[in-house]
């Protein structure tokens, strides 16, 4: 069976060029960058080369890049490390209601430990307002942590404006850019970002690697203590092959970003328009056009449940994801969709297609051919659809 992967926001395949490079570092150039000998020195040099590649993509200096085990750890270092360093300055944190769990759970952990949390709402497109953030700022605000683009609905946030605000008030500004990094431009200086979380496995790099950009002068207490690697900011033997893969993936992302974005927007809009044309009672979640990530499609399909949709798609080889509670093991559907004002039953029936570089028009055509049939089948099974059927009958 042909497999169509439309879940690139969950994770991406590793680019073959990246994987090939990594292999060399697994089996031949396997030195520990801390070692004095030749193996160690070649490792160290490759490590610093990768640091440059990452820094370049966000307009940072290499010294400001701290490698981590992924986006989640970077978010944790940023938030926990800042509040630990600023403990005496205040205990108020601002974040948004559509953050990834890596940010939200961390902030809630802090709230349980005596910190004050203000959670900024979003509008129906999933975008938060600069004005709301301005109003939330208090004299004891020590951190603003807000994402650049949302992982579920692809909404791009007014980060530069919030950066300006944070700077004016001297508040540390952390941005989770895991989903936007490598897809749309990010410039930490222009955007006044102090801490930026990025992750490798969302941009055709390996899993298990990420980085935190730490603006020169911004102090963080480390989360992980030990040998003092990464200038004492993150201890542990460096995941060198992973880091090198990440560096290479950044280089490739920089080269391909514009072209990829244009191509993905075409596919994205084809899929969005096709769904709206072919299926009744659907709602596209998130903004349309330039405020949306080039690769994100999110749609709520009324009267059916997300996991059933996913399973049905999966049986045809189509891999997507859903905001349904059933796919996350939690009781509630996507906190992002709920925050955007969707009611539970609609949120349960949502699908996310996240496109990637290797997807084709034919694949989109196939999805557009199959999805209506799946929806029809599930709706015929759904007690919620009875009402619609009855109305249709009456109208005839």
């Amino acid at each position: 069976m042909k497999r169509i992967y439309l879940d690139h926001s969950a994770t991406t395949p590793v680019d073959p060029e990246v994987a090939g490079l990594m292999m060399t570092y697994y089996t031949e150039k396997y030195g520990n960058p801390s070692s004095v000998h030749g193996f160690g020195r070649e490792a160290k040099q490759a490590l610093e080369e990768a640091r440059k590649q990452v820094a370049e993509l966000i307009g940072a200096t290499p010294q400001e890049v701290v490698f981590t085990s992924g986006g989640t750890e970077a978010d944790n270092i940023a938030i926990l490390g800042t509040v630990e360093a600023k403990r005496n300055k205040g205990k108020h944190i601002i974040t948004s209601c559509i953050e990834h769990h890596a940010v939200l759970e961390t902030c809630e952990y802090l709230e349980k430990n005596g910190f004050d949390l203000t959670i900024i709402p979003v509008d129906e497109e999933g975008i938060f307002s600069v004005e709301d953030v301005r109003k939330a700022i208090r004299p004891d605000t020590i951190l603003i942590s807000m994402m650049h683009a949302n992982n579920e609905v692809g909404s791009i946030q007014p980060i530069a404006e919030i950066g300006k605000l944070a700077k004016e008030h001297g508040i540390v500004f952390h941005v989770d850019a895991v989903q936007s990094f490598g897809k749309i431009p990010i410039q930490v200086n222009e955007m006044n970002i102090d801490l930026l979380t990025i992750s490798s496995h969302k941009i055709y790099g390996p899993k298990g690697v990420g980085a935190l950009y730490v603006r020169k002068g911004v102090r963080l207490i480390p989360l992980i203590h030990g040998g003092g690697q990464e200038k004492k900011r993150r201890s542990g033997t460096e995941n060198l092959p992973g880091i090198i893969g990440f560096g290479k993936a950044c280089e490739l992302a920089g080269q391909r970003m514009a072209e990829d974005a244009e191509y993905l927007k075409k596919l994205r809009d084809k899929l969005i328009n096709g769904i709206v044309e072919r299926i009744d009672y659907v709602k596209i979640n998130g903004p349309l056009g330039e405020k949306r990530l080039p690769n994100n499609v999110n749609v709520s399909i009324q009267f059916v449940e997300g996991e059933s949709l996913l399973l049905s798609l999966d049986m045809l080889g189509i891999a997507a994801s859903s905001g349904s509670a059933c796919t996350s093991g939690s009781l509630d559907p996507s906190h992002v969709l709920l925050a955007m004002g969707l009611i539970h039953e609609i949120a349960h029936g949502s699908l996310r297609f996240s496109l990637g570089r290797h997807n084709t028009e034919e694949e989109i055509d196939y999805v557009l051919e199959q999805l209506p049939k799946i929806v029809e089948r599930l709706r015929m099974m759904s007690p919620l659809y009875d009402q619609v059927l009855r109305e249709q009958k009456q109208a005839q």
Binding site: F303, V304, E305, G306, E307, S308, L311, M315, S324, A325, C326, G329, L331, P333, I343, H344, E345, H348, M380, M381, S382, P383, L384, D386
Partner: protein, 125 residues
């Protein structure tokens, strides 16, 4: 995640549909939680002659609904009453732990339908 049997019942659910003027109808769950199961019973004497279901929910919800209808068709009401959610899950070769609780309500829907049947009978009497 799901057993083959679950996937079979999800892909080819048995007894989907409605029974018009059913002798008993039971509905459990709610859309807020992402699971609604409705079961229709056609009862002659003490025997469940026909059974249909409609379900809004995840794979486990659909499969358990389908499974329970297979389990009760042709059975007596008393036999149907002893079927538990756990028994349905077991008949499907088990469910993932996360699903045992939330989407495993098909026996409840069945029992609600039997109760509805009894209620209607009482009114008739």
């Amino acid at each position: 995640m799901y057993t083959e049997k679950v996937m079979d019942h999800f892909t080819n659910p048995r007894n989907v549909g409605e029974i018009e003027n059913a002798d008993g109808v039971g509905e459990v769950g709610n859309a807020k939680c992402g699971d609604i199961m409705r079961i229709y019973l056609d009862i002659e004497g003490d025997t469940i002659k026909d059974v249909k279901f409609k379900t809004f929910g995840c794979g486990a919800a659909v499969a358990t609904s389908s499974m329970v209808t297979e389990m009760v068709k042709g059975k007596t009401i008393d036999e149907a009453l002893v079927i538990s959610n756990a028994a349905v899950a077991e008949a499907l070769g088990g469910l993932p732990p996360a699903k045992m609780h939330c989407s495993n309500l098909a026996a409840d829907a069945l029992h609600a339908a039997i109760k509805d049947y009894h209620d209607k009978q009482q009114i008739k009497e």
